[in-house]
């Protein structure tokens, strides 16, 4: 009996210690922010860009505490992970992968005092907004760079999954390339997955075998494809995180990266001030998107041309202004019309000059 009692007392003492420890140990943070990632934050790709944005937010706001979870699948698991973050006091949660939307939205309904920002979705509630980069128009500038750098007039584009947004990126890329080089053609290879590395390597090799001397991609992490291009002495253009340039010291042209920091900082500030407003935020170059530094092989006149086209896009130039014909000769956007932000997911065709089949 006495032994049991002693054990019970020991347990209570332990519990008391555990409960008192963290609370007494540090000051109350100004805001606790939760972040869930679908992959690893060191991928030189999408997740890295999110991590960089959140770190910038953390630096900008004193006393902000960041709770992170990597490699969280797009299943009910993410709802449990976010629920755990709310238990730890998170008042703002960034759900950074497309497939998290419904799960984050469920939690937004049951936790009206917690604010959610979802990357890439469309749902909205008083405490639920979403954001993403307007990637398509920015890809036009990448096309300008590729069109000027190619000698074979053959550009290679590896696409993971041919969703409308990805096809829009390809189309803007080709439109940009043609604007400076009417002979430039973009050859597309689809791997069928966002992260099938061996197939990405084989796809990049196939494009290079077919004469492509500039290779770019829309997959989760550009690391494999950029390294293949570098090993075969072929130019590459990156996408997702501008840090990818470290993978190609010689043949890097430039790249597109997301810059989420300012938006994330403003959102956290609005939660602290109690002025959070849900919105569907889509911002392009100059805001949520940035152009990576140029590689050593890019001459000054090309740099100027790319920078100028980026300026043009920042000032509102829309590459998808008619007349635009698809690669089977059908007019898809008539003269006088243009496709804006909400139509970017609707592409199921390629513009003239893209070699490949969309569906």
């Amino acid at each position: 009996m006495t032994r049991l009692k002693m054990m019970a007392v020991a347990c209570w003492a332990l519990l008391a210690l555990v409960a008192a420890g963290p609370a007494g140990a540090q000051d109350k943070p100004s805001l606790i922010v939760g972040a869930v990632y679908v992959g690893s934050v060191n991928d030189y790709g999408y997740n890295r860009s999110m991590k960089d944005g959140l770190d910038e937010m953390k630096r900008n706001i004193p006393g902000l505490k960041l709770i992170e979870a990597e490699n969280v699948p797009e299943t009910a698991e993410v709802q449990r992970v976010m629920e755990g973050m709310i238990q730890q006091g998170a008042k703002l949660i960034f759900a950074t992968s497309f497939g998290y939307q419904q799960f984050a939205f469920n939690l937004a309904k049951t936790h009206p005092d917690v604010y959610f920002e979802h990357a890439g979705g469309w749902m909205q509630a008083p405490n639920f907004g979403n954001f993403f980069g307007a990637t398509q128009s920015a890809w036009y500038a990448m096309g300008v760079a590729a069109g000027k750098m190619t000698k074979s007039n053959t550009l290679g584009f590896v696409v993971g999954v041919p969703i409308g947004y990805a096809l829009g990126n390809v189309n803007a890329f080709e439109l940009g390339a043609r604007s400076v080089n009417p002979k430039a053609q973009t050859h597309v290879v689809v791997t069928g997955g966002w992260s099938d590395k061996a197939k990405e390597a084989a796809a990049a090799n196939a494009l290079i075998d077919q004469g492509a001397d500039v290779v770019t991609m829309h997959v989760d992490s550009p690391a494999t494809i950029i390294q293949v291009a570098e090993s075969r002495k072929v130019y590459s253009i990156g996408f997702q995180s501008i840090e990818a340039r470290q993978l190609a010291p010689k043949y890097w042209i430039t790249g597109l990266g997301f810059t989420w920091g300012p938006f994330m900082t403003d959102t956290a500030k609005s939660v602290i001030a109690g002025t959070f407003k849900p919105a569907m935020v889509r911002e392009g170059l100059g805001q949520m998107m940035a152009i990576a530094p140029f590689g050593p092989a890019v001459p000054a006149d090309v740099r100027q041309l790319v920078t100028a086209s980026a300026d043009k896009i920042e000032k509102g130039f829309n590459p998808f202004t008619g007349p635009i014909t698809d690669n089977t000769g059908v007019v898809r956007i008539p003269a006088g019309e243009s496709w804006g932000g909400d139509k970017m997911g609707n592409f199921d065709w390629y513009v003239e000059g893209v070699v490949g089949k969309a569906k």
Binding site: S40, R48, V188, A206, D209, A212, S221, Q227, K233, K357
Partner: protein
């Protein structure tokens, strides 16, 4: 027919067939001992992650390959204990091993995501311009060059040695093998450790030779394709060479055709290697009964 296509398909089938060949050879040895290992995908993942981690830590991709072989063997040893030592159901244990492999590889690989490594060097013939067609056709890493000798060695091991005879006897009828003075369970342990090492090397080729990246789940089903190739190969290491090249070639061809701009849906294109696998299994399937190890999938629980 353009030259790029031909070169690309040949080089592509060799490059993507290599990891499949190692994994298939491993599975052949295990199944010859009567054990189906559905966890091969997990073994390959552990191999890929261990190779990448060891390469990142030591700077040597060769050490990475060695680490992958040991890690694959160790993981398969666990499987061997479960099915041979504890007589657990092979299919259930294999699937568990796969999920264990997915988790374990994530754990091993996580600190190294995004690390830059120098992969296995391409050993090209002197005088070939780097990056050119010649180097693409005749410049491979050491694992590619060792793949054929490994297949020949495995064939010799199974069909020309006393150990191989014992192995095959165990796979046909473990009780008879026991009665003849063999120790079935010891042979099965040995076979599975060898199989695990080969599966690990197969995974290593993906991470430290082909892609120079570690990403979770990067085998993308190749472990299961290898299991199908064992049936295609009729449990013979020499036929496994043809199987791996055929599958690798189909994948290379569909990517090349996409790059050329063939007028076929990319969704159909990406299905073709799997359709081909199905087709081959249908055509070859009729003679399966006569060549499959008779005791495949059945546990030897000893003799009363």
């Amino acid at each position: 027919m353009n030259a790029g296509l031909l070169v690309g398909v040949v080089a592509g089938s060799i490059m993507s067939g290599t990891s499949l060949l190692y994994a298939t050879l491993g599975e052949v040895v295990g199944e010859r001992a009567g054990i189906v290992n559905l966890g091969l995908e997990g073994i390959m993942l552990i191999g890929a992650a261990s190779a990448f981690a060891a390469t990142a830590l030591t700077g040597s991709a060769y050490l990475g390959v060695v680490a992958a072989a040991f890690a694959g063997a160790a993981a398969n040893l666990i499987f061997a204990y479960v099915v041979v030592g504890r007589h657990a159901n092979q299919l259930a244990a294999g699937l568990s091993l796969m999920f264990f492999g997915i988790g374990m590889s994530t754990l091993i690989g996580r600190p190294f995501v995004g690390t830059l490594i120098t992969g296995l060097p391409r050993l090209a013939l002197p005088g070939l311009a780097p990056g050119g067609i010649g180097a693409r056709l005749l410049g491979y890493d050491v694992l590619v060059y060792l793949a054929l000798p490994t297949a020949l060695f495995t064939w010799w091991l199974i069909f020309r040695t006393r150990w191989g005879l014992g192995l095959r006897t165990v796979g046909e009828n473990a009780a008879a093998a026991y009665a003849a003075g063999l120790r079935p369970q010891r042979l099965q342990y040995q076979a599975l450790v060898f199989a695990g090492a080969l599966g690990g090397i197969g995974g290593a080729h993906l991470s430290v030779a082909l892609t120079l990246t570690w990403a979770e789940g990067m085998t993308a089903g190749r472990g299961f394709i290898a299991i199908a190739l064992v049936i295609f190969a009729k449990w013979n290491p020499l036929w496994a060479i043809a199987g791996a090249l055929l599958f690798g070639g189909a994948e290379g061809l569909q990517l090349q055709l996409q790059a050329i701009g063939a007028d076929v849906s990319p969704f159909v294109m990406n299905m073709t290697p799997y359709l081909l696998t199905l087709l081959v299994l249908i055509v070859w399937g009729w003679s399966r009964q006569s060549v499959a190890p008779a005791a495949l999938g059945r546990n030897f629980v000893g003799v009363e």
